[in-house]
């Protein structure tokens, strides 16, 4: 029995670099970061006061304003990115059988923007969320649910929530559903709107985030010797996954093929990665094995590269472990250097960026990489994008709770 193949046919994005895929594309070749002073709440007493915020986002441009009112900011981002990705794919949804198209848009922080807003209002005795649409606003599954509803989809609609690996897991999960024959189309990726006082603050107090407040644009600097923590971002990254048959039959433009997915747990510590990188290397091996791609076939790694002292070094070790001598030939870059750590959306943004890298033949750089840490001594594509006609690449992710996740993408050439 031939295994079904799965391709990406549409890309959508909302991030600090702007609303839309073109904004992401420009940002990934632009050579600078979109981290700025935090404005969404008063962070003046916080140790970290910078973030990668989405500016100028108007949910009413993507959906009915009354519907937008009843959902969290993260769900609004998801709708915007999903609508753009679907339009990009040329798919007319719900399509002939709405049950064959589903959604897998993950979220990591949950609807914290709405939850915190609700708690503040309650405290002040103001009308709070409970006066209308409480559950639809706070449920973590709301983004996927609303996207399915908006597009009229009735296929399986599930929300994964696994911290920093959420987006990667969500794309991987969607890939598996199509491969198993349960769907022909899955709208997949991640979303998050975690820039709220406690959601942001809980990372600030454990010094996980950069305190380079006086120079926000250079704060997110993966693999750099002076990195001092991640910078929290917000937004949504969404791709349209489609069975190859389905895509070819309608003459869809294909960005890339999704070839394999793997995930493991460190079982070590809730925040720190183990220095040996063993389970991350195993997740990568699992994805390669699933894709039937040799380690030596990977040219580029879209790294987790969160810009924390611990992660970037441990990830380098893991990549060397997974790829052996071939690691020296890899190009490794982190888009978090440009758009910050978008938490639940990170894997979705990585997938979007990967699709663009295949389409444009251009590998995005790691910006702000001026003085590489000797412990991060792979080729991390500092500063400027590099042209390359990619054959196969790896998307890598890891996060709090010790989960590791990896996806292999491959070039698809129409015969």
């Amino acid at each position: 029995m031939t295994t079904r193949r799965i391709v990406v046919t549409g890309v959508g994005s909302v991030a600090s670099c702007g609303v839309g895929r073109e904004a992401l594309r420009a940002a990934l070749r632009g050579g600078r970061s979109f981290v700025r002073p935090l404005t969404r709440f008063d962070a003046s007493s916080y140790p970290s006061r910078i973030a990668a915020e989405v500016d100028g986002f108007d949910p009413a441009s993507f959906m009915d304003p009354d519907d937008a009112e009843r959902i969290d900011r993260s769900a609004q981002f998801a709708v915007a990115a999903a609508v753009e990705a679907v339009r990009d794919s040329g798919l007319v949804l719900p399509g002939a059988d709405p049950r064959r198209a589903g959604v897998s848009i993950g979220i990591a922080a949950g609807c914290m923007t709405s939850c915190e807003d609700h708690l503040f209002r309650q405290d002040r005795g103001e009308p709070d969320l409970a006066t209308g649409g409480f559950y639809t606003r706070i449920a973590a599954s709301s983004a996927s649910a609303v996207v399915a509803r908006h597009l009229g989809l009735r296929g399986r609609t599930h929300t994964l929530s696994t911290g920093c690996t959420t987006g990667t897991d969500s794309v991987g999960y969607a890939f598996q559903q199509i491969r198993a024959g349960r769907a022909d189309v899955m709208i997949a990726g991640g979303t998050d709107a975690p820039i709220a006082p406690l959601a942001y603050g809980c990372f600030a107090i454990i010094r996980a985030m950069s305190t380079r407040n006086e120079d926000p644009e250079s704060a997110s600097r993966p693999f750099d010797r002076d990195r001092d923590g991640f910078v929290l971002g917000e937004g949504a990254g969404v791709v349209v996954l489609e069975s190859l048959d389905h895509a070819l039959r309608r003459g869809a433009p294909v960005y890339m093929e999704v070839a394999g997915y793997g995930t493991t747990l460190n079982a070590h510590h809730m925040t720190a990665p183990p220095p040996d990188g063993r389970e991350m290397a195993r997740a990568i091996a699992m994805a390669l094995d699933d894709a039937r791609v040799n380690p030596a076939g990977i040219e580029y790694v879209s790294a987790h590269g969160s810009s924390t002292p611990l992660n970037d070094a441990a990830e380098t070790t893991a990549l060397k472990r997974a790829f052996g001598d071939h690691a020296r030939r890899l190009w490794v870059s982190s888009i978090k250097s440009v758009i910050g750590h978008t938490f639940g959306a990170a894997g979705g943004h990585q997938a979007a960026a990967a699709a663009l890298a295949f389409r444009d033949g251009l590998v995005p750089p790691t910006v702000n990489l001026r003085d590489p840490d000797p412990a991060c001594d792979l080729d991390c594509v500092p500063g400027a994008p590099r042209p390359r006609r990619l054959g196969a690449m790896l998307q890598n992710a890891c996060g709090f709770c010790g989960k590791n996740a990896a996806i292999v993408y491959r070039r698809f050439d129409a015969a």
């Binding site: 409480f134 399915a148 929530s161 406690l198 107090i205 079982a267 709770c401």
Partner: protein, 405 residues
């Protein structure tokens, strides 16, 4: 040829008992887990009852220093996982830890810890907030804590689809075994939603019972009673189970899920979607309506949702309706933990050959009739159980368990 997935263990932390045996004894007896809300001062609130887990000692399962860094949902998850593994007689070793995984479902995860820390934040500022907040309040927490406690490094995920979460988690865990990426998967649902804000919000949405009771299908039903707990099963590849001589009374035969419209409040269930999920699960299990010995219903004492389910059951099975029961009459609406607790009940029914009762059923509602409703627990052979976990916000999921041959 699909790799058969057996159930070799179960771990339960519930409002009616902790551990498989205590839970089973309570099901047999028809014990109610609903009582006064004691977790916080509920006197000024809209709701005075809940299905609380009682007699739970986190220290029996977790080092107290660690327990302080976790939300109660993590306590329940670690406890249920330890109980499940012990029930399965499985020891984690360096040789097998990479082939043992974990998929959990949860709707509201660390809400208690989050709400408490937000109150601290509002009163005293960021500097007083617990440094463990970032690891306790997000959905990823339970798989982190469980994997560290048990030393397991295999396939994992967390799925959040409201009350269908646990079923979706079990289905995804099965996929990992069938794909050969794991031999053993701990899977199910965990929930600890008893926070003032959640109760107030659900009350404002008219979801909770004002009468303070859980009486599925009864004419006096007026909303659910919120409950908490964790239900986890050990799914194991048949070859792996046989090789180590593990006992397996049951097998996971089928999973079905569907997504559809939902009302503006998000808490309504769509008939067609639910019916589709049932059909998909039965088809996946190659189970005909006549093969079903027990329907473990979704009914949570909700006016409209119970009615829709009754109609759905009537239409699906016609005149030959198998026995139907709802354990939510005893454990309340445990949201993401529901399917896990239902799974534990399904396994009990199969293993013990006993149909647990739907308690508090006093007055039939002609518009919501289930003729084969089990109101008195009774012995009966149970070879196939279909369990409904109809989530909110559109996703409905169904599992089919069978007696292991």
């Amino acid at each position: 040829m699909r790799r058969r997935v057996l159930v070799t263990g179960v771990g339960v932390v519930s409002p009616i008992g902790i551990g498989r045996e205590a839970f089973g004894a309570a099901l047999r007896e028809g014990r109610s887990g609903i009582g006064p809300l004691t977790r916080f001062d509920a006197r000024d609130g809209p709701c005075r009852v809940a299905a609380e887990v009682r007699g739970f000692d986190a220290a029996a399962f977790i080092d107290p220093r660690e327990a302080r860094r976790m939300d109660p949902v993590d306590h329940y998850a670690v406890a249920a996982a330890r109980l499940a593994l012990a029930d399965a007689g499985l020891v984690v070793t360096d040789a097998n830890r990479g082939r043992i995984g974990l998929v959990l479902g949860t709707a509201l995860y660390g809400v208690q810890f989050g709400e408490a820390q937000h109150a601290v934040f509002r009163a005293a500022g960021l500097r007083r907030v617990s440094p463990y907040t970032a690891i306790a309040i997000f959905p990823f927490s339970p798989i982190g804590f469980v994997s560290i406690a048990l030393g397991i490094t295999g396939w994992s995920n967390v799925i959040t689809s409201c009350a269908a979460s646990g079923a979706d988690a079990i289905a995804h865990a099965r996929d990992a075994i069938e794909a050969g990426t794991a031999d053993v998967m701990i899977a199910g649902g965990v929930e600890a939603p008893l926070s003032p804000t959640i109760l107030r919000g659900l009350d404002a949405a008219a979801a909770l019972s004002r009468g303070a009771h859980s009486r599925p299908y009864d004419r006096g039903r007026d909303g659910f009673v919120l409950g908490e707990g964790a239900g986890l099963v050990v799914l194991e590849a048949e070859d792996h189970a046989r090789a180590r001589g593990a006992r397996a009374d049951a097998e996971l035969l089928g999973c079905g899920t569907a997504n559809g419209p939902y009302d503006s409040g998000g808490l309504g269930i769509d008939y067609d979607t639910a019916a589709e999920a049932v059909a998909a699960a039965l088809e996946d299990a190659r189970c005909r309506p006549g093969d079903v010995d027990l329907v473990s219903a979704n009914a949570a004492s909700e006016v409209e949702n119970d009615r829709l389910e009754a109609a759905l059951i009537g239409e699906r099975y016609g005149g030959a309706c198998p026995p139907v029961t709802s354990i939510r009459s005893m454990v309340g609406q445990t949201l993401g933990a529901s399917a896990g607790l239902q799974a534990a009940a399904s396994l009990f029914a199969i293993r013990e050959g006993f149909l647990p009762p739907t308690i508090n059923y006093e007055t039939p509602d002609p518009g919501c009739l289930v003729r084969s409703l089990v109101t008195q627990g009774r012995a009966a052979p149970v070879r196939r159980v279909v369990q409904h976990s109809f989530g909110y916000l559109g996703t409905q999921s169904v599992l089919v368990f069978g007696a292991a041959a």
